[in-house]
């Protein structure tokens, strides 16, 4: 008796097991189909941001989603994606932006020098940078940090970056820190998908559409030069800088990395970066390192200069100097 009952039990168990298995497979397949459909639709509409967009917007988004890495695009492809993005900006935000895809100039390597004995900590540069680069106003993202340090304090890891009082304070000096556009940049090496690279004119840029937001580069940078979009960047339409660059100040999305680009949209047109132009004290010197007659070369030749954490071998193109 016992054995028969056992047998019955066993059969029953096996049957239920089979049922479970079958049921599981079916459920799985159903789920997979649903997920694929949902995922596909989300892809088409840019991760579900606008499920009720127009047909044109949908087509543009679809094409945008499947475009390649900026570095692998031909010039025609770049022009196309730029046109698509301009149209999308018009459709989504109602803004007439002009996005450039201008490449680097020949015989140009950008360099920057910061005069620590002249900076007064007015922070006009920070405000100009936020405005020019369409930085997120909600999280108060800033590319530039100005550190207030006591005289004689040459320790680069200390300093008050959150000061808010009348400046310049007695017995203090000010030191601006931003992306140093290292020649041997650790952030580039850290990127697992090659979404960040050094342009031939020395600017380290990010392809915002290729970035997966893993933040390895942020961890790799010894200078805290990179910023992450934790939320969707918000810029009031009236403050939006319309003149944009694909690798520069075009609108980022949530979950991508961004950083100072030496205002690539300005510098490739021959203009100074917004911070250098805004500085009321003339502490910021910008120029072409390959031009023997440039101001930056004069500074490097005639002034006492140093670079931050030079011993790391990152080879930054950003020098500090004093009078």
């Amino acid at each position: 008796m016992d054995s028969r009952e056992n047998k019955k039990d066993l059969i029953q168990k096996r049957n239920t097991h089979q049922d479970e298995k079958l049921c599981g497979r079916r459920e799985f397949l159903k789920g997979a189909v649903k997920a694929a459909a949902l995922g596909g639709s989300m892809m088409m509409t840019g991760c579900g941001t606008s499920l009720t967009g127009s047909k044109e917007e949908f087509v543009l988004e679809w094409k945008e989603y499947f475009k390649g890495n900026y570095r692998l695009m031909t010039q025609e492809e770049r022009d196309e994606t730029v046109r698509r993005m301009e149209r999308l900006a018009k459709l989504k935000m109602g803004a007439d932006v002009k996005i450039s895809s201008r490449g680097p100039r020949k015989q140009v390597l950008y360099g920057y020098a910061f005069n620590i004995s002249r900076c007064k900590g007015y922070m006009d540069c920070v405000a100009a940078c936020v405005k020019e680069n369409n930085l997120d106003r909600k999280s108060k993202t800033q590319y530039i940090r100005i550190f207030e340090k006591e005289h004689g304090n040459m320790n680069v890891t200390s300093g008050n970056g959150k000061y808010f009082h009348e400046v310049p304070a007695e017995n203090h000096f000010y030191m601006g820190v931003q992306c140093f556009h290292c020649e041997n940049a650790p952030c580039i090496k850290a990127c697992p998908i090659k979404a960040t690279w050094r342009e031939p004119d020395g600017i380290v840029v990010v392809d915002y559409n290729w970035c997966i937001g893993c933040r390895y580069c942020m961890a790799a940078c010894p200078y805290w030069g990179r910023r992450f979009n934790w939320n969707k960047p918000e810029v009031p339409l009236k403050d939006l800088t319309r003149k944009q660059h694909y690798l520069g100040n075009r609108m980022r999305t949530k979950g991508v990395m961004e950083k100072c680009t030496f205002c690539v949209q300005r510098t490739r047109e021959g203009k100074m970066p917004a911070c250098a132009e805004a500085c009321p004290t003339g502490s910021r010197v910008f120029g072409n390192l390959l031009d023997p007659k440039s101001e930056i070369r004069y500074v490097l030749k005639n002034k006492k200069v140093f670079r931050m954490k030079e011993d790391l071998g990152t080879d930054p193109k950003y020098w500090y100097f004093m009078d």
């Binding site: 021959g270 023997p292 007659k293 500074v299």
Partner: protein, 208 residues
């Protein structure tokens, strides 16, 4: 013949260490860093392509008497920024009614320039006889547009840096014909020190 059992392992380790050694040296050996790249660049930079897209700013720059390492350069005009220029409109030998003079005179100017025990006076810089001009210590007449020559008498180090590019700043463009700001574009000649003020914005902590 007896082979050493560690020979193979030893050679492997040697090869590996060589690989690591040369792998690490790759960057500095190939490029030598930006300092070397810079020193090797001695050819003059041809910015014709960029210059074409650059409008001249400001429209009527002043050719500076001195040259910098790249040749001629320009600076902002000064006389059109001075209120009530020409000074000789009032400072002439003609009589002026007192009420009108009080309205347009510049008694509000406070001179905070020079050492405390020996401050500058109006006629340290201004030409007493011809008020449209400045006057050097040697008694040379200088136009307002070339006021950098006046400042350079005492502030010769700053002037040298200004000519070279370490003091002051270029106007808008890093390329093209070099046009820089004048001394008085940033410094008030009557009180040249930058004032204390509130910063334009503030920063939050990077990580909290």
């Amino acid at each position: 013949m007896k082979r050493c059992p560690f020979q193979r392992k030893l050679s492997l380790i040697l090869i590996l260490s060589f690989l690591i050694f040369f792998g690490c040296k790759e960057y500095s050996e190939h490029t030598g860093g930006v300092t070397v790249t810079m020193k090797e660049a001695t050819a003059p930079f041809d910015d014709k392509e960029i210059v074409e897209s650059i409008p001249r700013i400001p429209k009527n720059p002043v050719l500076v008497n001195t040259r910098y390492q790249g040749g001629f350069f320009w600076t902002e005009t000064r006389h059109d920024k001075i209120e009530r220029f020409r000074c000789s409109n009032c400072h002439n030998n003609n009589e002026a009614p007192i009420d009108k003079a009080a309205k347009v005179a510049h008694g509000n100017i406070v001179l905070v320039h020079g050492p405390e025990n020996k401050p500058l006076k109006c006629f340290t810089c201004h030409n007493q006889d011809e008020r449209d001009f400045l006057n050097t210590e040697r008694g040379t007449k200088i136009e307002m547009d070339h006021s950098y020559q006046m400042c350079g008498q005492c502030h010769f180090r700053q002037k040298r840096d200004w000519v070279g590019g370490a003091h002051g700043k270029r106007i808008s463009y890093w390329a093209g014909k070099r046009t820089v700001m004048n001394c008085a574009s940033c410094h008030d000649p009557h009180s040249p020190k930058f004032a204390k003020k509130w910063p334009k914005t503030y920063s939050l902590a990077l990580s909290d």
